[in-house]
């Protein structure tokens, strides 16, 4: 039996769906904070099967969508400094101030290379010793340890032409900011499976203890998602909140301690700027002093430029779950995946793009 296929089993899914329907008492608003969940919930059709009283909100779960205009401006400025920019493909079309993106920078002569792994960027640097390669470090706890591991390798091998612009962000502090925000109405949080693979259960405990928020670490198959929703609803019905690990086959309660060690060896926690959410304390990662030779912002003296916000884009409110994408006046008019105004429309995992593609 293929274990993974079993988690798509329609019979089991319908069974859970029935239980959801019978347990649901009142409107239930759940937020997921993982782009993969966003896509999975739309793609699997779960969204259309759920009772209308269950409201799905996509929070700040896509690293591309939460990358701030000022960060985009910073890497666009770096691309003009005769460096080789290595980036995940996700960033290529993200519009920054004035609508400019890396693709346009490339057309103007910047050298931009898409890589699949930070390791590929390091190899690129080693193969081209006369060029300076800057890797754009975006991503949450899932990605940050991979980048940290590569920076460690670069130090060990004394590679002098490899640098990282770190824009990494941490999920729990953002959840704290959301949970503390009185404006936001969320009854339960579907916690991101792959981030949790790294950080485990502990960093979320405050959600239950301090904010009484039902929170479930969930996988990405239909059965995983439905079951996580059911657990959240039952917690709410019982007026209690616990953080549940409902993705045990991939997430251990203590997380991946080795990956976290590597991450904290190389990076230290600092405040970070989130698109739409502003500065969140202790929610980002910067390079430690021992690794400052690899810090692109220091080496190339690249601060975060002051920029004007993109007018009309409501990504911020979408990411907080305050409005749904089709409430944005630009949605599907001036802003489409082919010509995106904001980052939520660019990334395939962004709420606006998912809405555009799968809207019912």
């Amino acid at each position: 039996m293929n274990l993974l296929n079993k988690f798509k089993d329609p019979k089991l899914c319908l069974n859970i769906l029935e239980q959801i329907k019978s347990d649901l008492q009142e409107e239930f608003r759940f937020m997921e904070v993982c782009g993969t969940h966003t896509v999975a919930i739309f793609q699997s059709g779960i969204r259309s099967l759920l009772p209308e009283k269950i409201i799905h909100l996509s929070g700040p779960g896509c690293p591309v969508c939460v990358t701030h205009d000022r960060e985009i401006a910073a890497y666009l400025a770096l691309s003009e400094k005769n460096l080789v920019i290595a980036t995940f493909g996700d960033l290529i079309k993200v519009p920054g101030p004035g609508g400019k993106n890396l693709k346009m920078a490339q057309a103007e002569g910047a050298i931009i290379n898409i890589v699949y792994s930070a390791f590929d960027a390091l190899q690129m640097a080693m193969e081209n010793p006369d060029r300076k390669v800057v890797f754009l470090g975006v991503g949450f706890e899932t990605t940050a340890p991979t980048v940290a591991a590569v920076i460690k390798m670069a130090k060990e091998q004394e590679v002098r032409n490899f640098f990282v612009l770190t824009m990494h962000k941490l999920v729990p502090p953002a959840l704290k900011a959301l949970a503390a925000d009185k404006e936001i109405r969320v009854d339960g949080l579907l916690l991101p499976g792959h981030v949790s693979t790294i950080i485990g259960l502990e960093p979320y405990k405050f959600l239950a203890e301090e904010y009484n928020m039902p929170s479930v670490i969930g996988g990405f198959e239909p059965l995983d998602i439905l079951q996580s929703i059911l657990i959240m609803i039952r917690q709410k019905n019982e007026s209690r909140a616990v953080v549940v690990n409902n993705y045990k086959r991939v997430v251990s309660d203590q997380g991946n301690t080795r990956a976290m060690e590597v991450m904290h060896d190389v990076f230290e926690v600092s405040d970070a700027l989130w698109r739409g959410l502003g500065t969140i304390p202790d929610s980002g990662l910067v390079l430690r002093k021992e690794y400052s030779d690899f810090d692109a912002s220091l080496v190339f003296d690249q601060e975060l430029p002051e920029v004007e916000e993109v007018v009309g884009c409501k990504c911020g409110e979408v990411l907080k779950g305050l409005i749904s994408p089709d409430n944005c006046p630009l949605f599907d008019t001036r802003c489409t995946p082919a010509k995106p105004v904001g980052p939520c429309m660019v990334s395939t995992e962004g709420s606006c793009a998912a809405y555009h593609k799968y809207r019912l």
Partner: protein, 76 residues
């Protein structure tokens, strides 16, 4: 962007594993996986690195609970 997919390890050499899923072949680094992975294991792969071994026993256990209609028991 945090997309991570399960792939099967076909061979391991030093810190690099050859992995495969549905005919797609790739190479992943094992520098940050928390427990030693072996040929035949499924691992969660993200950005060129294996993050974790998938625990078959836990997976089967979860399913069994479902099939017995004991979903609630998963709440601990």
């Amino acid at each position: 962007m945090c997309l991570a997919i399960p792939m099967e390890i076909k061979s391991i050499e030093d810190n690099v594993a050859r992995v495969e899923v549905g005919g797609v072949k790739s190479q992943v680094r094992l520098d940050i996986i928390d427990e030693p992975a072996e040929v035949g294991d499924f691992v969660i792969v993200h950005a060129g690195f294996a993050l974790r071994r998938i625990d078959r026993v836990e997976g089967l256990e979860t399913l069994k609970l479902f099939q017995e209609g004991l979903g609630l028991e998963l709440i601990k």
